[in-house]
């Protein structure tokens, strides 16, 4: 008996999940805007302390990982399984690189005594406390999404090795790709809000 596969249905389901993700991060973006509106000077001062070069580097890494993801799906559709797997590995590698840089960035801040509820941070103005609280929670939630994405992509890689995903059944990889691109879009907004607008 043939397994029943509903291509449009699974894609639509994935999109519905992505919409809920947009609203989840959207709520945090609204929170950020409101606090920025109330404490413009504090946010201005606090944003200066983030490393713009590291933020830019991470943006470039994530954009490139989206390209390798798109390449992986395109080659899977053509039946070039070896190339598709190589691009998936490249995407996973770039994802880890992003997390590595994020760790360095957070590490430097924590070393300077700036982390949620730290005595050093609590001694500063209310707006700056809010800025760093939002910085840690929003980039943290985003990093968690990257981590989940890496797990999903690793599962996809194993399914490809076993031949469970192939050019006639590529929707799992396509849906993983949709998720990965959405996480990239979230970062595209986080980047200017925290690192560029001062």
């Amino acid at each position: 008996m043939d397994e029943h596969k509903d291509y449009t249905g699974s894609k639509l389901g994935m999109w519905l999940f992505l919409l809920s993700e947009i609203l989840l991060f959207g709520g945090l973006f609204i929170l950020y805007s409101m606090y920025r509106y109330k404490h413009p000077v504090d946010f201005h001062l606090a944003a200066w302390e983030l490393s713009r070069p590291l933020g830019t580097l991470n943006t470039l890494i994530l954009l490139t990982s989206s390209l390798t993801m798109a390449f992986s799906i395109a080659s899977l559709r053509r039946g070039d399984y070896r190339i598709s797997k190589l691009f998936i590995i490249a995407t996973i590698f770039l994802g880890f690189l992003f997390l590595g840089i994020k760790t360095i960035e957070w590490g430097a801040k924590i070393e300077h005594g700036i982390y949620p509820n730290s005595p050093r941070l609590l001694g500063r103005s209310k707006g700056e406390i809010l800025f760093f609280g939002l910085y840690y929670s929003m980039t943290g939630l985003h990093a968690l999404h990257i981590l989940v994405g890496l797990l999903v992509l690793s599962i996809m890689f194993f399914l490809m090795i076993r031949g469970r995903i192939n050019k006639d059944h590529c929707v799992p990889l396509e849906n993983s790709g949709l998720y990965w691109h959405l996480v990239d879009i979230v970062w595209i907004f986080l980047f200017p809000l925290f690192y560029l607008i001062t």
Binding site: W15, L23, L63, A74, H181, T198
Partner: protein, 92 residues
């Protein structure tokens, strides 16, 4: 979609990132907030249409899905802003 298309979309995304980073060093007044967000919106549009294939989807539902969620999000923004603006007699 071909590898070439994906590559050019990526190149566009990199150029837009370069633009937004260079603009960040300038004194642009209120444009300092609007411009980076416009650029971020453009980048998202590129990713949604090409990498996420919304451009080539045939079904209507995929065409309206993003405008729909943006409309919901806009309502959230307006409701929150009107609440914050009129609290304690308004302006800060």
């Amino acid at each position: 979609m071909s590898y070439g298309t994906y590559f050019w979309v990526w190149a566009g995304l990199i150029i837009l990132t370069g633009t937004t980073v260079s603009l960040a060093g300038m004194q642009l007044g209120r444009w300092a907030i609007v411009l980076p967000l416009l650029i971020a919106g453009t980048k998202s549009g590129l990713i949604l249409s090409y990498f996420m294939h919304l451009r080539s989807e045939k079904l209507l539902i995929f065409k309206v899905i993003i405008p729909l969620v943006m409309a919901v999000f806009l309502v959230f923004i307006l409701l929150t802003f009107s609440d914050v603006a009129f609290r304690l007699g308004g302006a800060k």
